[in-house]
Symmetry: C2
Subunit: 210 residues, 2 copies
């Protein structure tokens, strides 16, 4: 069975997105600062068609985020388009050729036909809950891992349900002062530390289920 | 000038003490689990007159907590004895021979004469604020660092005031679900990551002032 993995960047004060998330600020105000460790990397720049960039201890974690998964599960807010019934002109934040290149299962209360994009990404809209989305993603992943894309609320639900096999928390020395927390409403979830890796401006900590 | 350093253990959900702190639970309910990485260490056991114990990547951090400082600053709650005017029969949590072995400056609103204990620990009660306590501690530290003992509220005040030179956050894979957070009410404090070290069941991240 494909494992469900979450890679997420967290400020040292515990936020995975800043306050006041909106169309203009999908990661909340200041939230884009979270990923400052990622943008200079060759692994990130190459994935976005840019040349050059750094190779450092964060590289394997960037590669893990940007590739390797066979399917992704994400929440409605991460796909975007606002709450409520779909405006079908909204096709996500990522343009015509989204960076997933595999099936993406979007959790929503509102049914919508699958949306096939360029480059191998198809968005499937799942209305019957997190377990169903995970099962569909596992069936589609071709033996690779399933990536949990976020946001915080969906990650909390999978964590509380004991369905998350691995979390890589990339802790950055930033204080956001408010926003969305990953680790709340997670019930009796238990973690064990698998490894931690120092990299420039970030510490990557890999947790498994205890 | 002696630097002011804080060593603190934080759950991955951001708490440095559990909920409902009391005389019976000075670290809050479940808070004693935070320091599970420390107790098995030879450096800790030896400091408490016990033999044996482990030596691992946490050892330098334990040694840093248990020795090396020339003075300590702490808040009233960490010294204990409840709020309000002093019951002078209360002499702290640590018995006749407290583990500090140097001058300790306790922040309080209620004056009290210095309290000399065995083994070189003298508690001084400071009623004129955090800057005064730091200055007195620096004067008493004999060129060594000043340790900020906590708790969370005092640490927040020093952090917000830009008076904290270094923080070692020991992140443990525990979810406390509630309690006292270190990183809130800290204003515009800015940190930089100096190093991070993987150790069994804990990741030690050293931050400096950015």
């Amino acid at each position: 069975m494909s494992k469900l993995k979450l890679n997420i960047t967290m400020s040292v004060d515990g936020f995975v997105a800043g306050p006041d998330q909106s169309l203009e600020h999908p990661l909340g105000v200041g939230g884009e600062r979270l990923h400052g460790w990622l943008y200079p990397l060759k692994a990130f720049r190459g994935g976005h068609g840019e040349e050059g960039g750094e190779v450092n201890a964060s590289t394997p974690f960037a590669e893990d985020i940007l590739g390797g998964a066979g399917a992704t599960v994400m929440g409605r807010n991460m796909f975007g388009g606002g709450p409520g019934p779909w405006d079908e002109s909204w096709k996500g934040w990522w343009g015509d050729d989204p960076p997933f290149h595999h099936p993406v299962f979007v959790l929503t209360n509102h049914a919508r036909a699958p949306l096939e994009m360029q480059g191998g990404t198809t968005f499937h809209f799942v209305t019957d809950g997190i377990e169903s989305a995970l099962e569909q993603a596992q069936a589609a992943a071709g033996g690779k891992v399933v990536s949990l894309g976020g946001g915080a609320s969906v990650a909390q639900q999978y964590l509380a349900a004991g369905l998350l096999d691995e979390i890589v928390v990339s802790v950055v020395p930033i204080l956001l002062g408010g926003g969305a927390r990953l680790f709340e409403n997670v019930g009796e979830a238990k973690l064990e530390q698998v490894e931690s890796v120092e990299a420039p401006g970030v510490t990557h900590i890999r947790y498994g289920r205890a």
